[in-house]
Symmetry: C2
């Protein structure tokens, strides 16, 4: 093939897109510990126990450890076809710029107008709620990608939506708010006076800038106190990782189609949904067939739940209203420094990702400093043309580091990472980096201890 015939992008045709999600738990030999009822600390084994929060089908998916594949309803499949399959792209220009023998590929999930992978689960969650006759949905959003994606899916399925947006984000990102409102969502800066839990948080600290954990508490209260409403979440939960498995399935189909054998798989990890979906079929092969992929989770040094957190039961929210999950966590009371601009600010980590890391199916977690992340992001933007989201750029940073290591050793490894989204709404952070005003932050052990002090005592569980 001449260079002009070499594909840069491996688009699958629409009929090569998977029609079922892959449920990694069916292949996990060690299951993560069950969710616990926050009132009784009893394990949650029956979907009915989750029914006040999630619609029936999603509650079932949340607890499903049996079915390896779960078929997509036609309506969700049709929605996916509006923007999927997403491309798998060979980063020829980045390779050239680095002078590395490594082959670098990225799965680009920002290739839809919500700008991120979040749409994969948003479409599913809204569809199931609609199908069940749910009258409205609530959620929270931090950086705003989840809120944007959910607003788009709600507009499409004609479902009313209230978004609790972390207050500092809603102030720093007015356009994020505007795009959600354009799609018809009601956006409330959190904490707010519209919920009891929000009022308490404001009473405790009237100047709080909010956290994702606080916004979750408000969204859940709003859901359980409204008429036939449900709560939705953009990460952490098993159901979300299930929906995100389409990323990994498409990646695997594309790699196999072109006979490409990956050595290293890299994803950023905040709540764990993109990494969990991206690596799912590869992790399944490791567990079931002993495949040799190296899987790396990348997190910010300023919110290091996997590299410096505890593997323990914790609440998923600050208000301590959610079920407890066993996960790597910094404690629901941990508040990442406001000087951290790079997203991935959640205190915990998906129970599936946590368990796989604990069992070293995920080989490594790596914490990176935000200035190094933005350095990688800016280089990537210039040579690959795509302006990456700060979150996604954590994966770029480590992909570059791995490729530079190959340059030293001369190894021609195949590195595949997940580029979860675009950075159009993060230009303040880019400007801060460019001007030299961005600084790095690493929490002290004492600061981490404050977070750990907020961990619940669940006895001998």
């Amino acid at each position: 093939m001449s260079k002009m015939d070499t594909p840069n992008k491996i688009y699958l045709s629409e009929n090569e897109m998977p029609k079922a999600w892959y449920n990694l738990r069916a292949d996990m030999k060690i299951q993560h510990a069950p969710l616990l009822n926050p009132a009784t600390l009893e394990p949650i084994n029956d979907p009915a126990q989750l029914a006040p929060i999630f619609c029936t089908e999603l509650a079932k998916q949340e607890l499903n450890t049996k079915d390896r594949f779960i078929e997509m309803p036609e309506e969700i499949y049709e929605y996916y076809k509006l923007y999927r399959p997403s491309p798998l792209i060979r980063a020829y220009n980045l390779e050239k710029e680095l002078g590395t023998p490594a082959k670098i590929y990225y799965k680009f999930e920002g290739n839809n107008t919500s700008g991120s992978h979040k749409l994969n689960s948003a479409a599913a969650q809204v569809y199931y709620a609609k199908a069940q006759g749910v009258k409205s949905l609530t959620t929270e959003t931090g950086a705003g990608q989840w809120g944007t994606a959910l607003s788009m899916a709600c507009a499409y399925f004609k479902m009313p939506l209230t978004v609790f947006m972390v207050k500092c984000s809603s102030e720093q990102k007015p356009f994020r708010k505007a795009v959600m409102e354009t799609y018809g969502a009601t956006v409330i800066p959190s904490p707010s006076n519209t919920t009891e839990v929000g009022k308490k948080m404001l009473a405790a600290d009237p100047n709080t800038t909010g956290t994702l954990g606080m916004a979750i508490s408000e969204a859940i209260e709003k859901a359980v106190t409204s008429d036939n409403a449900r709560y939705t979440l953009g990460s952490v939960l098993d159901q979300v990782l299930l929906h995100q498995s389409i990323i990994g399935l498409e990646t695997k189909i594309a790699l196999e189609k072109y006979d490409i054998q990956p050595d290293v798989l890299i994803g950023c990890a905040g709540g764990g949904s993109n990494l969990g979906g991206f690596m799912a079929p590869f992790a399944g092969e490791k567990i079931q067939k002993g495949a040799k992929y190296k899987i790396i989770a990348v997190e910010p040094a300023s919110c290091p739940s996997m590299t410096r957190g505890k593997f323990a039961y914790d609440f998923c929210d600050t208000g301590k209203t959610t079920p407890l999950a066993k996960m790597y966590t910094l404690g629901s009371g941990f508040v990442p420094s406001s000087i951290h601009a790079g997203g991935l600010r959640y205190h915990g980590m998906s129970p599936i990702v946590s368990q796989l890391y604990h069992d070293r199916i995920i080989d490594e977690a790596r914490a990176v400093a935000q200035t190094k992340v933005f350095e990688a992001a800016t280089l990537f933007a210039k040579v690959e043309t795509i302006l990456p989201a700060p979150e996604s750029s954590h994966a770029i940073r480590v992909a570059i580091d791995e490729a530079l290591e190959c340059k030293k050793t001369g190894e021609a490894k195949t590195i595949v990472f997940n580029l979860t989204g675009t950075g159009y709404f993060d230009l303040n952070a880019y400007s801060e980096y460019r001007s030299g005003r961005m600084v790095d932050y690493v929490p002290t052990d004492a600061e981490l201890q404050q977070g750990f002090d907020s961990l619940p005592n669940v006895g001998s569980l």
Copy 2:
């Protein structure tokens, strides 16, 4: 085919992407009038006369009326492969929402991270300059799409760039400025004190908010007074329409592949580049083979160069430094009302588009009010998920109007429009619309007359 097998998106494979641009002028039976030297008013027939402004290859393309196809250099083709072919999408959801028997398709050019079709010409202009050893480039930008695209292409080809950004835009769209700077461009609000022509404009009106015409004057002065620099332009010129022909070529290949016969082709028109490129191969068939496509150009009612302008020689800039072009124009002194938020603010129109409209190869020009444009944009966003640019939404408005007409008559016409870009940086305008604060504006005849009074007197030409 079951519904699950019906393609929503017609992606061509990379090897179906055209390897040559289509030069419509080779098929035009009536050529547009030549450019005139602004000093002598003599026709420009020799590329050497354009050499101080454009690099050699682009100057040749600007005047080429002979070669039907112009082969893309491999470097440009490789660049296109980073984001092309772009999808042609069937708007099933919009059709359903409207209840129309019409079939609606859109070519989506916002499917690259510059967010618009402008990248097609940016890549070409930067490449040719780089190949010739040009040391830096200048340009102007209004809404910012061209500046963004050019910044990305300059980062890729490692070419320094100065962008003169219309002052009111640089204030209203700080993130547009930030994205260009992230890609390494120097952005100067225009008019500025960095050029002689800018100083004059500021002296005449210290509070001016700037116009595209003013920014062009500054960019040209900067190019001709810097060491081995050249000027680049994102629309209007024949070379730009040539590069944009890839839109129309891909559209035609995709339609033919699926045996779809278009009845109506719609594009928005500011300077004319997206419409010119989109309709080029269809217009060629009309001229050469009598094909029956209806081609509609859509412009804002507040800057109505085709529907209310004069077909006359005019300067392309406010400072009256460019060659003169014969085109539909409101006069280079015309300043669109600042209450117009919808883009497409240029006083003139591509000479090719102007000539084709004059000869009714372009069947119709239609002016639309901005509130009706944003109404269409919001509906489109909700049902098709893509947040469209205000400029592109002019085409959406007319596509919807044509589809609603089909609903009345029962005709199942096939309507194809060009969706040039996304509206991520236009959320102020969306918010204005949503809040009911957006108003429409139509210039009075007296206001238009002021613009016409600025037209140059070129004697009997």
